[in-house]
């Protein structure tokens, strides 16, 4: 395959970026999208040019490191798939592909296609955990949990923290990410104890980080590589409302 690539280049956070156009020949349809970028980078290196910075690690769709907005879609055209698992057979010979970083004020561009997603960690640090120290646990089977409830919690817990939901949302909202953790923990008996405090603190941190609001567009669910459901947002709103009425202590 022969491709034309329009790629966002930005030397650093405070320097203005722009699109550069590259052409790449001999792309195999068996290559993954990131392997295609590897080949381009190797080529740029040999032309004594600076390779394109992009983030990646496990290349099997689970670590959440890879990102990219490909032809306007976070993680590209294939549903339920991270960029690292997207293969070139999903593109056509001669095609022009536009590759950009995630765009959100809470995710500043660090260099080229790399962005800072530290805001998501800070949301978890605000309350996305159960306060149990090592050694305090009772026997694992002491509290039976209904199979369907455990399964529902698991569905929310499969979020990989990639931030595609934020990139997909016109408001750059992190509601899907935040609500997935709120739901995972609120559904389980172990997590119910501090559920009110948790949701208030996580939502407050989310707002502090400059993420936008949810206006029920649900592009987040459509672009989520793990298929996290927007019903988690409804659950979070319910938790948040009831916590707001019954608690005056968010810390």
């Amino acid at each position: 395959m022969k491709l034309t690539l329009k790629i966002w280049r930005q030397p650093s956070q405070n320097v203005k970026g722009k699109f550069e156009t590259y052409s790449l020949d001999n792309v195999s349809e068996h290559m993954s999208f990131l392997e295609m970028l590897d080949v381009l980078n190797e080529k740029l290196s040999f032309e004594q040019k600076v390779p394109i910075a992009f983030e990646h690690d496990c290349r099997e769709g689970i670590c959440g490191t890879c990102s990219l907005v490909i032809n306007g879609q976070p993680h590209g055209p294939l549903q339920g798939t991270t960029t690292c698992q997207l293969h070139m057979r999903n593109f056509k010979d001669g095609e022009t592909i536009v590759i950009e970083p995630y765009r959100a004020s809470a995710f500043p561009v660090l260099k080229d296609l790399s962005v800072d997603r530290g805001a998501l960690d800070r949301i978890i640090q605000a309350g996305g955990f159960i306060s149990v120290s090592t050694g305090q646990a009772q026997d694992a089977n002491a509290i039976p949990i209904e199979k369907d409830v455990a399964s529902h919690a698991f569905d929310a817990a499969t979020c990989i923290g990639c931030g595609a939901c934020v990139a997909a949302c016109p408001n750059s909202s992190a509601m899907l990410f935040t609500s997935a953790k709120v739901a995972h923990l609120a559904l389980l008996p172990q997590g119910k104890v501090e559920a009110q405090k948790r949701v208030l603190n996580m939502v407050r941190q989310m707002d502090l980080e400059n993420f936008g609001n949810c206006s029920n567009i649900t592009a987040c669910e459509a672009e989520c590589p793990k298929g996290i459901s927007v019903s988690n947002i409804a659950l979070m709103n319910r938790e948040f409302l009831s916590a707001s009425f019954s608690s005056n202590d968010a810390n």
Binding site: S12, S28, E29, H30, M31, S32, D38, E42, L44, S45, F46, Q48, V50, P51, A53, E55, H56, D57, C58, R59, E60, I62, C63, G64, T65, T81, L110, K111, S114, R117, G118, D121, I124, Q125, A126, G128, F129, I130, S131, V132, S133, T134, G135, A137, Q138, A140, N141, P144, I145, E146, K147, A150, A153, F154, A157, T158, I160, L185, L188, Q190
Partner: protein
Amino acid sequence: MHMDNLNLNGNVPSGDLADKWTTYRSTLPLVAPNNKLKIEIIVVGTGLAGASAAATLGELGYLVKCYTFHDSPRRAHSIAAQGGINAAKNYRNDGDSVFRLFYDTIKGGDYRSREANVYRLAEVSTSIIDQAVAQGVPFAREYGGLLDNRSFGGVQVSRTFYARGQTGQQLLLGAYQSLSRQIALGNVKMFTRHEMIELVLKDGKARGIIARNLLTGELEKHGAHAVVLATGGYGNVFYLSTNAMNCNVTAAMRAVAKGAFMANPCFTQIHPTCIPQMGEYQSKLTLMSESLRNDGRVWVPAKKEDAKAIRDGVKTALDIPEADRDYFLERRYPAFGNLVPRDVASRAAKTACDEGNGIVPTGLGVFLDFSAAIERYGKSKANILGLSNPAHAKVIELGEKVIEEKYGNLFEMYEKISGENPYKFPMKIYPAVHYTMGGLWVDYNLMTNVPGLFSIGESNFSDHGANRLGASALMQGLADGYFVLPYTIGTFLSEDISTPKLDVHAPEFTAAADLAKQRIDKLFAIKGKQSAESFHRRLGKIIWEYCGMSRTAEGLTSARQQVRALRDEFYADLYLPGVANDLNPELEKALRVADFIDLGEIMVVDALDRNESCGGHFREEYQTPDGEALRRDDEYAYVSAWEFKGADQDPILHKEMLHFDNVELKTRSYK
């Protein structure tokens, strides 16, 4: 230091095996709470071992500094573990016990691990499950609401806890959330996008690290009373492996350069069911869960001309009649068939391909065929539905549904990567490097031979011997991090309560930072023509060819020369773009490749020293008449711990002799 007898002592406490840990834990020296507040600990790595250790040490009141090269502590490669985690809970009432888990692990490791460590691992395994459930890890459950278990990796009890095919992800997120809580409380200071590139010793003790800030390139000095490496395995020395792209051995090799011993580096695990390499550009290999071998049959065409026709795309698997297929695992191992352990299955696939019967263009691939299972399940389902004499197409349709329920996500992943429908055509698989049993030598306290330097999880050598059992890696990482290191580190720190905070302006820190800077400057000064990636790829080929699934003295001797020649070429012809004081992934890669080359040579030397076959280490000279591994307990029942003397010197072998007082050494047989 040059010891005469070169014998190492594992500092195993005395007493009966079953009581050792409890007794030791109750008597080891403690650090008082007021003193913990003055003691700093560096933890490098945030996988299962690092995150659990950092969180627990923070809870205990130590001042913890934690480092990862990722943008977030949640990304470490523990997250990709699929299968599950073992624990001797005996919830199935099927006769499991701490002793049985200990025994299975020692035997599975081919009697090359330390009894006391393995027993302790089995003992604390049950607490891990309790801890994880309390954190909200959503393990699979039964309709009664209690935890489900499955049997894994050919053991006779069901002791594996799992969270669909994402057990590693859920356990890591549990540890990450505990770590996040400690970060918020201020007990752990988290440094993301920081890579350790030098260890700092002061008065012979590990007292800090030089970390490169990956965004700015700054070489930062960080001091602490003790340093814990939780930096994972070195599988990427093979270039292609199932490890994540950024997994590397640099932290461990920086410690080795400062005197820490590297133990059993030739013990590496090759997983039999991975998607084969499709082209030169390929960057990594993807694992398909071991569970697929429960229903898949492994075969190659019996006739070489058929194999060639498939490789050339003239024929497909469906064109080969049943009589012309060689189900080589079933043929060679009638008792276990397709379910033989990982090392045995991998070698058999290699043999079939070496004989010219491989089925992918590179020649390195075999079929994993589900058609028999689909038909069998389809007939059984038709029976249940009361369909008499169903059409063949109906049987296949019903069978495919059963397979989809069992392995749907794996089949989908395979199709995404390969572009082929595995319900219609057999999967193509080949073995790939998956885990490294070797690692930094540690004693019973998980401390290396460098005082104050600890190593936990996959980065140490301690618990899996020459072969790791399925679902045991997660167990070991969390055992070390939650339940072992937080206690045993007290033995070192209790002697250190009057040591003040480390001054990073001390000459030892400046010297270490200078050393790191010199290494970086040296790489930029080469101004050659070849990329770090291309050297890595070539190193991987050498190690895979000569120190992979089967090894010979002749091949290993040649491999050592080839690695040395590659090192010379690397330092003569590396091309490094960009600058040092910027985000520069090519520089990160080059520094890591330099360390992989040095490790590669030690691996080869270790494999050459071990004149026996055991676990993942198969030396062709040492096999039984029917081609099985020949272990030599009389001469090689030891841990080899290598002291590095510089890239152009022979490393020095130190031995820790292994004693087995509680198990009888047996030969593994799967015939």
